[in-house]
């Protein structure tokens, strides 16, 4: 296990190197002079020169890249042009809502997706199976941000059950936090539950056809015990993979959901940074989320060993 994890950590180095390089190159993709674009049409030549020097854009490209690497390794992601604080500080301030939203949506996706897939697989071809899989197909196709708007219209505007938008910290007021988080988490998690349901059904169908299931049934065990105790654990590895992928997708989806529900997280931070051309913030958010994405995939790989002892990495 340890050898495997060390080996996997080493393979992350080139991936993260590409991530940092792509983030660095973003600023060089700006058409024309990036500094003029950042400062807008009212900037004087002196301001443009000063900013170019401050950002090191007057240096050769390879030198800029090495300096960028060095800064990132020191945890210095630069200074926001508009927020008047270091990018790292801005990221830390906005991380909580995004993390709460992502984990809540993941919980919703698992709670809907896994039981749906298992029930569909336990009764293949039945009305349950067809209804749940039709729901899963629609869940894959319905755009999450549009679903959010419809939820707001139905549950906030028409029925008045839940707030339409906003955020309360789970540490300050847990009850209010729950009320604010229900609609964003359900609308973000519903899409991903469809993917989990389809994979769970497929894996469970395969597991239920194995010899040991026939043996369990022959012993007279109930359908519930056979399904949940014997088949489910063996179908879990691919399901965990897809839950890991889901977690990574949710980080991206959270950006859009935060805009719809006016949640002050990383999503709103990056969109306002894009609109204000605050490039250090854009770079910082992208770098942090990509690194989180990579580390989540590593964690998923590590979890395999815990849930399936047949897997031996050494």
């Amino acid at each position: 296990m340890t050898v495997y994890l060390v080996r996997r950590l080493l393979t992350l180095i080139p991936v993260l190197a590409v991530v940092v390089t792509v983030v660095f190159l973003l600023i060089h993709l700006i058409p024309g002079d990036p500094v003029s674009v950042m400062l807008g049409p009212d900037a004087t030549p002196a301001q443009i020169d000063a900013t170019r020097q401050a950002l090191g854009l007057d240096r050769p490209l390879h030198e800029q890249l090495f300096k960028f690497y060095a800064r990132v390794l020191r945890g210095d992601l630069g200074q926001s042009y508009f927020l008047d604080r270091p990018v790292v500080t801005a990221l830390l301030e906005r991380a909580e809502p995004t993390m709460v939203l992502t984990f809540s949506a993941l919980l919703v996706a698992i709670l809907i997706g896994v039981p749906s897939g298992i029930i569909a697989a336990a009764y293949p071809g039945s009305l349950w199976d067809r209804t749940l899989m039709l729901g899963a197909l629609l869940g894959v196709c319905v755009p999450g941000f549009w679903l959010s708007l419809n939820f707001i219209y139905l549950f906030a505007v028409r029925l008045g059950w839940l707030p339409a938008a906003g955020y309360a910290s789970i540490f300050a007021d847990p009850v209010a936090a729950l009320r604010y988080m229900v609609l964003p988490a359900v609308s973000l998690g519903f899409n991903q539950s469809a993917l989990i349901a389809r994979i769970s059904r497929s894996c469970m169908l395969e597991a239920l056809q194995q010899d040991y299931i026939r043996t369990a049934r022959a012993k007279g065990l109930s359908t519930g015990v056979v399904t949940w105790v014997h088949a489910f654990r063996n179908a879990l590895v691919p399901v965990v993979t897809v839950i890991g992928i889901t977690m990574a997708i949710l980080i991206g989806g959270a950006v859009v959901t935060e805009i719809v529900f006016n949640i002050p997280g990383l999503g709103r931070l990056i969109i306002s940074a894009v609109l204000r051309r605050d490039y250090p913030v854009v770079q910082g958010v992208i770098l942090v989320t990509a690194t989180a994405y990579v580390l989540i995939n590593l964690a998923v790989d590590a979890v395999y060993v815990l849930i399936d002892p047949r897997i031996r990495y050494e």
Binding site: P14, V15, V18, V22, L137, V140, P143, F145, L275, Q283
Partner: protein, 290 residues
């Protein structure tokens, strides 16, 4: 050997005679039929527009669906029905062009990586790095650098989705390159480029078509998300994402502004997913989901 030639030679096996052509299998697949019909409706709908989607008419703002405006009007008095129809054309243009570009770049990168082991490692680490970004965030970052515009949306989405196609083509090439007929072509002195395009690429077409249909669906959705966030095509261009975004501001008074473009987006996603599933079943049964 063609079917006719096989028949003439008298070596028709029972399997070959019974096996329908891939075109017949495509035509018979229910998913492909339903998916194609949905897409055709969206594509041809542009001719049915009743109003100019860019014409502002403040006197008619936020009117509910009626005989004059089938799906109502938005906050600027524009006809939502016509906005949805024209928006579909923008979305399909972005989706189709992104699909074509990702396929071209993916084929080039995948063939080179799969065929030349020396560059494989470097190319695949770059692809891994690009896949490490959440897709929509990388697209947002690229749009931040390039600015709004249809061309820039296509560029950003092509960069985001090319690694998936490149990795698929590479894995297919790796499984084919050691087969006897490729070795035979090499032994006959065929050039690498000829082998890659004449002997290996045709065998990648099945998985590529399936992947392309899914990328088409992802690109349409991603374009709508970028438009909704205000970083995609400019706001004056009628796209589904832009119309849904404008509907968000008036959802309390006029739910129909965001409802109908979203339904159109869902239907196209459904059509493309069914098409992709159908293509996978016909062209690549190994990938068929139970």
């Amino acid at each position: 050997m063609s079917d006719a030639a096989v028949a003439r030679s008298g070596v028709v096996t029972r399997d070959a005679a019974a096996r329908p052509s891939w075109l017949a299998r495509l035509a018979r697949n229910r998913n492909i039929g339903v998916g194609a019909v949905i897409l055709a409706v969206v594509l041809l709908a542009g001719v049915a527009a009743t109003h100019d989607p860019r014409r502002l008419n403040p006197a008619e703002r936020l009117k509910p669906p009626s005989a004059a405006n089938f799906l109502g009007t938005d906050e600027f008095g524009r006809d939502v029905f016509s906005l949805v129809l024209y928006g579909g054309q923008v979305s399909l243009l972005v989706g189709a062009t992104t699909m074509a570009l990702t396929s071209l770049w993916g084929i080039a990168i995948g063939l080179i990586a799969g065929y030349y082991k020396r560059v494989d490692l470097v190319l695949m680490r770059i692809m891994d790095g690009l896949m490490a970004f959440p897709a929509i965030l990388l697209a947002i970052a690229l749009m931040a650098a390039r600015g709004p515009g249809v061309g820039n949306v296509i560029f950003a989405l092509s960069v985001v989705y090319t690694p998936r196609t490149a990795m698929l083509i590479r894995s297919t090439v790796l499984s084919i390159r050691e087969l006897d007929y490729v070795q035979a072509a090499r032994a006959l002195g065929r050039r690498d480029l000829m082998i890659a395009f004449r002997h290996i690429l045709p065998n990648c077409v099945g998985p590529l078509l399936v992947q392309a249909s899914f990328i088409f669906a992802y690109a349409i959705l991603a374009e709508a998300i970028l438009g909704f966030l205000g970083v995609g095509v400019p706001p004056y261009v009628p796209s589904w994402g832009n119309v849904i975004a404008s509907g968000k501001n008036v959802i309390r008074e006029a739910f129909w502004v965001s409802l109908f473009p979203g339904l159109a987006l869902t239907l196209s996603g459904l059509g493309l997913n069914l098409l992709g599933d159908g293509l996978r079943d016909v062209l690549d049964p190994r990938l068929r989901v139970q």
